[in-house]
């Protein structure tokens, strides 16, 4: 029964996202596929693409020990420091964003039913209140997950070696510094084939879009 409900919810979620608007949509993303792809890139000596796909796999499966282990390994091999995860981040990413989306919907249902029951002045007031409280917690968990994931949705990974960071979004702009491959940066803006990036150290500049891949592909 439980599996049946879960499958139905999953099918509904997929149906809601089904219509492909991009070529990539026809193929789709899966945590296992992205993880295996990242492994393949790592074996080919492409740490940038490997880190990119590990991070994408981590979005779909945030608590996979294999993804975390390989991501750390590739970063260490490339001498790129790994970001530390806060306790808040670990707590709110207890489940995948997909599951948390449905948890949020269930929380909304609980809050709504509780509010209706209160309006109808049904009996079992403590059950009504418990249901509303549980629903609010579930919605809060989903919202917190969104807050935690928001920066990651705007991150990019350097996929080419010695990527020059320029002062302006033009190919002949003066180079400020050079980014190592597999470094993760925050993407602040985009302008005509160039991305305005910020490193973890706070340095900013423009890089060619072909040198940095977004963790969440742009449509």
């Amino acid at each position: 029964m439980k599996n049946g409900a879960r499958s139905a919810a999953f099918a509904l979620g997929l149906a809601l996202m089904a219509a492909p608007v991009h070529a990539e949509s026809a193929q789709g993303f899966s945590a296992a596929g992205l993880y295996n792809l990242a492994n393949a890139y790592a074996r080919q000596g492409k740490p940038g693409m490997a880190v990119l796909n590990y991070q994408r796999a981590s979005l779909l499966s945030p608590n996979s020990p294999d993804i975390d282990a390989n991501l750390s390994y590739v970063r260490a091999s490339s001498h790129v420091p790994a970001p530390t995860r806060s306790r808040f981040d670990r707590v709110v990413r207890i489940a995948s964003p997909f599951a948390l989306s449905w948890i949020g919907v269930m929380g909304l249902v609980l809050v709504g039913v509780g509010a209706l029951a209160s309006a109808l002045e049904l009996r079992h007031r403590w059950m009504r209140r418990l249901g509303v409280l549980l629903g609010i917690c579930m919605i809060g968990l989903t919202v917190a997950n969104g807050i935690a994931l928001w920066p990651m949705l705007h991150e990019g990974v350097v996929i080419t070696a010695a990527t020059p960071v320029r002062v302006s979004p033009v190919p002949m702009g003066d180079s400020l510094f050079v980014l190592p491959e597999a470094e993760t940066v925050n993407i602040a803006a985009e302008h005509e084939g160039f991305l305005l990036i910020q490193t973890r150290a706070g340095r900013t500049g423009w890089v060619s879009r072909s040198n940095v891949a977004s963790v969440v592909p742009r449509r």
Binding site: G13, L16, M17, E24, S25, Q27, G28, F29, S30, A31, A32, G33, L34, Y35, N36, L37, N39, Y41, A42, R43, Q44, G45, M49, R56, L59, L60, D66, N70, Y73, S77, P97, F98, L100, S101, G104, L108, V109, V111, G112, V113, A115, L116, A119, T142, G146, L149, L153, I159, P171, M172, G193, S208, R209, S210, N211, A213, S214, V216, P217, R219
Partner: protein
């Protein structure tokens, strides 16, 4: 004392032995060095350049050759020098160095190991106050050169000390055309002490900056006399049409003879400034030497057939183009180059390269010029334009063109380069389609050293998503909780509305009860104040509120007539309304008993009305 002297002798003996042992090393390696004294002289003076050879004198010595300096060996000496207690033979060659112009000269080393020396030659100061030829005080000096043949195009000054010659390859040019030319200044050795930059006559002519460069130096014989020749190469450009006389003027400071020719026969015999300076036979004088004028005809560029992209380049040019790299990914910057090679006005060689090309992002080009001659007339100008392809596939860039005016053919020409093809592959940054292929082909091998520490692959999953954006941020999914929220809100509002009539009645009753309490309080206050009018007015207002709530009327609609109609059997309420009207116009006295009675009556009626 004796002991100290003995120790001193021993020390001297030891030092002598050490020096004796060290000496062969010096003797084995002959030392050749050169000195010049004084290192700074005035033009017209001479310096002594001494080459000393500490050795057997067999080391080869090369006599230096410096343009603008004249070297003459005046003596060779042999000496014995005592170095570190050892006697060494030394051979000295004394050379007289006579400058032919002012400047700083570096005399190279006489052997590969010896150091160069520097001689500074200053021009003569105060030449402005020199005697002028032709002034009554100064006798006219005899010409230095007399008779003999002079090369073609050379017109010597009156005293034969210098000449200026200008060479222009063509006499008919176009407005804006760059014409190379050459200015040659010949100066008789030792007679010119200062020379300024040459300039051209005429305001219509502009020169490029190559005239500021150092001129070429050479020596030549003119009519049997040694001349130092300085040659400037430059290019001129005429800005308006017409015919102009063209000549070059060079300011010089020359030394003119102040003694009669017969008294300076020895000077002329040697032609040597050393002797002239020694005897004080000459003074400096500023003169302008001009080349023979030449006629230059300047024509307008024809208006007919002028291409739209003509920017004023005149000359003979050819172009070629290339792009690098020829294989790239989407988003990679490529560099498109156009090389313009030839001769002419490279300042006006310009190109916008490619402006708007479908599926390409273009940037403004930048250019660099490399000259093949000192004038900048011949060379190569390279335009580099960054391009970024926006779509994958085999892309063809259109041909580049460049328009110019050919002064030889006397018409406009447009040079074209062939179209260029580039292979653009999809960018890795955008590609996720390679996942199955790569993952399928990426079985770990022993050669993959980087994969040693990787966790193994996972079993493929059937579950896949169309986007990595979390479901709760996707608009299509957000419709579901939005609809749910709307449905719950609508249901809640519906429930509340269904409960509304009873609530409305209760609210009305609460309002009426509050009005009743307020009216009773006012009545009590009026009774205490012994105010019958206020008492009955308050009683009537309270009854109006209560009855209006009961009859669902506005309180003002509850009048005495309405009460009469609806409550015909209740005399007390009638009387309250009547007393209220009556007390407004006529003072009615009530005692405390009456107040208490009416208070009890009204309270009873109000409470009974509320409870219904």
């Amino acid at each position: 004392m004796s002991t100290r002297r003995t120790h001193g002798r021993w020390l001297m003996a030891i030092a002598g032995m050490v020096l004796a042992l060290a000496t062969p090393a010096i003797a084995d390696d002959p030392l050749v060095y050169a000195t010049i004294q004084p290192p700074q002289i005035m033009l017209g003076e001479s310096a002594m350049f001494t080459i000393t050879n500490l050795g057997d004198g067999t080391a080869p010595i090369t006599m230096p050759v410096v343009s603008g300096l004249k070297f003459e060996i005046v003596a060779r000496t042999r000496q014995i020098e005592l170095i570190n207690g050892t006697t060494l033979p030394s051979y000295a060659t004394v050379v007289r160095v006579t400058p032919q112009m002012a400047g700083i000269f570096t005399i190279p080393g006489v052997t590969p190991k010896s150091q160069p020396v520097v001689l500074q030659v200053n021009s003569l100061p105060g030449s402005g106050g020199a005697l002028r030829p032709g002034s009554p005080q100064a006798p006219k000096p005899p010409p230095i050169l007399a008779g003999g043949s002079i090369p073609k195009g050379v017109r010597l000054t009156e005293d034969g000390s210098a000449y200026v010659r200008m060479s222009v390859p063509k006499r008919e040019v176009y407005v804006g055309e760059s014409v190379p030319f050459e200015i040659e200044v010949g100066m008789r050795s030792g007679f010119v002490t200062r020379i300024g930059l040459p300039k051209l006559t005429g305001d219509e002519i502009t020169l490029n900056s190559s005239l500021l460069r150092e001129p070429e130096r050479s020596e030549t014989m003119v009519d049997g006399q040694a001349f130092v020749v300085l040659t400037w190469h430059s290019a001129l450009l005429v800005v308006k049409p017409g015919s102009f006389p063209l000549s070059a003027v060079v300011p010089l400071t020359v030394k003119i003879r102040t003694r009669p020719r017969r008294e300076s026969a020895l000077d002329d015999q040697f032609g040597d400034p050393f002797w002239q300076n020694f005897f004080g036979a000459s003074v400096p004088k500023d003169i302008d030497v001009e080349s023979p004028p030449q006629e230059l005809k300047v024509m307008e560029l024809p208006a007919a057939g002028r291409p739209a992209d003509f920017h004023g380049a005149i000359g003979t040019f050819a172009i070629e183009s290339d792009i690098s790299p020829v294989k790239a990914e989407v988003g990679d910057p490529l560099t498109l180059r156009m090389r313009v090679v030839g001769s002419g006005t490279f300042d006006r060689v310009d190109s916008a390269m490619l402006d708007h090309v479908e599926q390409w992002k273009t940037y403004p080009p930048k250019s660099t010029f490399t000259s093949n001659d000192p004038m900048g007339h011949k060379g190569e100008k390279v335009f580099e334009q960054p391009l970024i392809a926006s779509k994958p596939g085999i892309q063809t860039l259109p041909a580049l063109s460049f328009s110019y005016f050919d002064p030889i053919a006397k018409r406009y020409e447009t040079a074209h380069s062939p179209p260029l093809s580039v292979t653009i592959s999809p960018s890795l940054a955008d590609s996720t389609q390679m996942a199955p292929q790569l993952a399928g082909n990426a079985a770990p091998t022993s050669a993959d050293k980087s994969a040693d520490g990787l966790k193994p692959d996972h079993a493929p999953s059937d579950i896949s998503m169309s986007s990595l954006i979390p479901l709760y941020l996707q608009p299509r999914f957000l419709a579901l909780p939005s609809l749910l929220a709307l449905a719950f809100a609508a249901a809640w509002v519906g429930v509340r509305r269904r409960k509304n009539p009873a609530e409305r009645v209760a609210a009305r009753d609460r309002t009426a009860w509050r009005a009743t309490k307020r009216a009773l309080a006012q009545m009590e206050a009026a009774a205490r104040a012994d105010n019958p009018a206020l008492f009955f007015n308050s009683a009537r207002a309270g009854l109006q509120q209560a009855l209006a709530a009961r009859w669902q009327l506005v309180p003002d609609e509850v009048t005495a007539a309405e009460v009469q109609a609806r409550l015909s059997d209740d005399d007390d309420i009638h009387q309250v309304f009547a007393f209220a009207d009556e007390s407004r116009y006529s003072g009615r006295d009530l005692d405390s008993t009456d107040f208490a009675r009416w208070m009890r009556v009204v309270r009873q009626r109000l409470i009974s009305t509320q409870s219904r």
